[in-house]
């Protein structure tokens, strides 16, 4: 059986359950992010609004620039100030996605993107979303399935880990709830 497990990494990992959401905030749980600014904190929020990642010191990956780094690399801040995106380690990425299967399978055509929560091809409204796979030199503005981030193929194994850098910025005021992430892959 194939299973996806989503984890917000941090000092301790927080599993993102089926009814949980990833909350991008302004530094503390439920705090706002200024328009055109990027997240200063990331949390796991339960379906009843509780901070499930409280006490786990969850990682936050903050977009800084698309090409302002060394040789045109993107820049991000994951707790040590601004650095080139390709310096982030797997342990420092906010999101870990695990795909497991009872038999060893290879994974290809792996895509990750943000959408409005209803239609994969539709970008979330009034949100700038920047994502990257660990090791990438630049962020991808993966808004809608057609603009998806392509992840590296993963060789045959019963367990596959994918490490994602996540950052988002509201382009207008107001809570953004029509906003989801999706991962698609082919396994064989």
């Amino acid at each position: 059986m194939a299973t996806f497990t989503f984890t917000l990494q941090g000092a301790s990992p927080t599993t993102i359950d089926a009814t949980d959401i990833i909350q991008f905030a302004g530094g503390t749980f439920d705090s706002p992010i200024a328009v055109n600014s990027y997240n200063d904190s990331t949390h796991v929020e339960s379906s009843v609004g509780a901070d499930d990642s409280n006490g786990n010191t969850p990682h936050n990956n903050k977009f800084i620039s698309q090409t302002g780094g060394t040789g045109g690399d993107s820049q991000a801040d994951w707790g040590d100030g601004t650095e080139d995106l390709d310096q982030i380690t797997t342990a420092e990425c906010a999101l870990k996605i695990n795909f497991s299967h009872g038999s060893a399978v290879a994974c290809s055509a792996i895509k990750f993107y943000a959408y409005d929560g209803t239609t994969p091809a539709t970008a979330p409204s009034n949100i700038d979303v920047r994502v990257a796979e660990q090791g990438d030199a630049n962020f991808t503005e993966a808004e809608g399935s057609a603009a998806a981030l392509t992840l590296a193929d993963s060789g045959s194994a019963t367990s596959h880990d994918f490490f994602i850098v996540l950052s988002a910025s509201p382009l207008t005021v107001g809570e953004k709830t029509a906003f989801a992430f999706a991962i698609e892959l082919t396994y064989q």
């Binding site: 290879a106 290809s108 590296a152």
Partner: protein, 91 residues
Amino acid sequence: MKAGKYTALEILKALNKATFKVATHAEMDEEGNETPVFADVKPEDVFGKYRVRIAGLRGIATPDHVINLQAGTEKVEVMVGTETYELTLEK
């Protein structure tokens, strides 16, 4: 080589083979029997010309095709043409 992300060419070179034996065509004798004719091809010259499969992944047609060998993987099966090789990863 340990688990991690590598290009297809890096993985082929990790096999420490100067060339790979691939069937380029077949010759037919008077009785209609076909015999494959092999050539030795350098790792960087197999892509896009001969079948390359790495760790169960098919359709590897470029040397810079990135492949993530997951942590815990001990052996990687590599197929070039009709020959299969095994790469043992370091722990």
